[in-house]
């Protein structure tokens, strides 16, 4: 079977593909970048997207050209190092999937694939498709931790946690800090990431103690770093590979207002986190 572009495709899912790539190439942060076109041949639908880029890079090296720089680490969808905006969507067309877990079977022989870095003022390009996401680490440093000494593994049930809070906290803890939410947001806002962190920590008793300061400090840092303002469009939620919900942003909004207007020792007024 051959498709419109005349490339052979045997139709059983094992056919090797030829793909046309448009990739952002940029030497460094201060230099202007541009889209460059490449063709890769013999791509199996069973390999991952990053393996396809590895093949391209092998070709480039053989031809004596500079390979395309991109971020990756675990390649099993758990570390959040991989990035890339693929055909206009951070982490590509597959929902709840990081770029490293995206497979070439999602594409057809003869497809043109546009690959760009995550773009935001707070994410300057280091080279080609690799951006500096240290801004997210800076937000974490400003409050994404607990300082309560929790000691060794405690006796189970010694600190009761509402089942609902445990679930919500665990869901928020799934955030891998990839920054796709920032990349997808039309305002380059980091609210989903920050919302996930304050929920994950603040919903549990150990993290609740500094809950207010945490919200305050993390939002302050987020603003300083030049992320945009959320306009509730929910593109972040749609691309998040870990399914972090928009309700985490609502919690952040709520807690930020409470943190701003209530004093710390407010006569035992309990913070209602969920």
């Amino acid at each position: 079977m051959s498709n419109m572009n005349g490339h052979e495709h045997n139709g059983n899912g094992n056919g090797e593909m030829t793909l046309f790539l448009k990739i952002w190439r940029q030497k460094c942060c201060s230099e202007k970048g541009k889209m460059c076109e490449y063709t890769v041949k013999g791509i199996s639908p069973d390999i991952s997207f990053l393996e396809m880029l590895d093949i391209l890079n092998q070709d480039l090296i053989k031809r004596g050209e500079e390979p395309v720089v991109f971020d990756h680490d675990c390649r099993e969808g758990i570390c959040g190092a991989c990035s890339l905006v693929i055909n206009g969507i951070p982490h590509g067309p597959e929902v709840l999937t990081t770029t490293c877990q995206l497979h070439m079977r999602k594409f057809k022989d003869g497809d043109t694939i546009v690959i760009e870095p995550f773009r935001a003022k707070a994410f300057p390009v280091i080279r080609d498709l690799m951006v500096d996401r240290v801004a997210l680490d800076e937000i974490i440093t400003s409050g994404g931790y607990i300082s309560a000494n929790t000691g060794a593994a405690p006796e189970a049930n010694s600190i009761p946690v509402r089942q609902e809070n445990a679930e919500l906290s665990m869901d928020a803890a799934a955030c891998v800090g990839c920054g796709a939410c920032v990349a997808a947001c039309n305002n380059a806002s980091a609210m989903l990431f920050v919302g996930a962190k304050v929920s994950h920590l603040g919903l549990l008793p150990q993290g609740e103690i500094e809950g207010r300061e945490r919200v305050y400090n993390m939002v302050k840092k987020m603003d300083e770093l030049g992320f945009g303002n959320c306009t509730n469009e929910a593109e972040c939620e749609a691309v998040c590979p870990k399914g972090i919900k928009l309700s985490n942003i609502a919690r952040l909004n709520r807690q930020f207002a409470l943190s701003s207007f209530l004093k710390k020792d407010d006569g035992g007024l309990k913070q209602e986190w969920n």
Binding site: V85, Y216, K220, C230, N232, A238, A250, N253, A257
Partner: protein
Amino acid sequence: MECCGLKFNYFTSSIGKKQIMTVSAFLLISFSIVHMIGNILMYVGPKYFNLYAYTLTANPLLPLAELVLASFFVVHILLAIILVVENYLARPQKYYMKVNTGKGASFASATMPWTGAIMLVFLIFHLLHFRFGTIYTTSYDGKEMRDLYRLMIEFFAQPAYLVWYVATMIAFAFHLGHGIQSIFQTVGINYSKYTPCINKLCLLLSLVLSVMFSAYPIWSYVKGLQ
């Protein structure tokens, strides 16, 4: 605003600005609802409509109420401009290709600044035409008052104005379609149990407001033909 011994201004923070904008939006929508209900009197008859307007304007507190209302508009518009500029600057290098997933951003959400700008132009002309427009007078039971009803019928007898009003009300529907739902999210109300229902009610409200506000000019036009 100081919190936990930390100095950080709520009013200049990203969330703070959005929440203030949200409060102003809430107050403006409340005003729109009252305005919409008041206008129903035009269906009852010129006398009731004019008397209603007269009662409002005769109130000595009117200038104060107008000032407060104007301040809601000013706050909402200024914050909108600041946020739009900040958001534009947050991504200096734009994407070569960026598509919305279809599960997040909508036409309404993506065009908020534009529909907002249309509403602003509308607002200016609306005030010029009616608040500061031609003064016809009429009298009921010996009381002289402004004949707003006549002004309205004459105004909407011109098809261009009719089309402009209905077109801006479509923009209004889109602005509110995203805006009203956004109020809840921005103040932190998002619970899987209630939010789907809240969102539907918000859409319904924006539809009711824009349909009602479009109906008045259409009705005036038809009345003017008779």
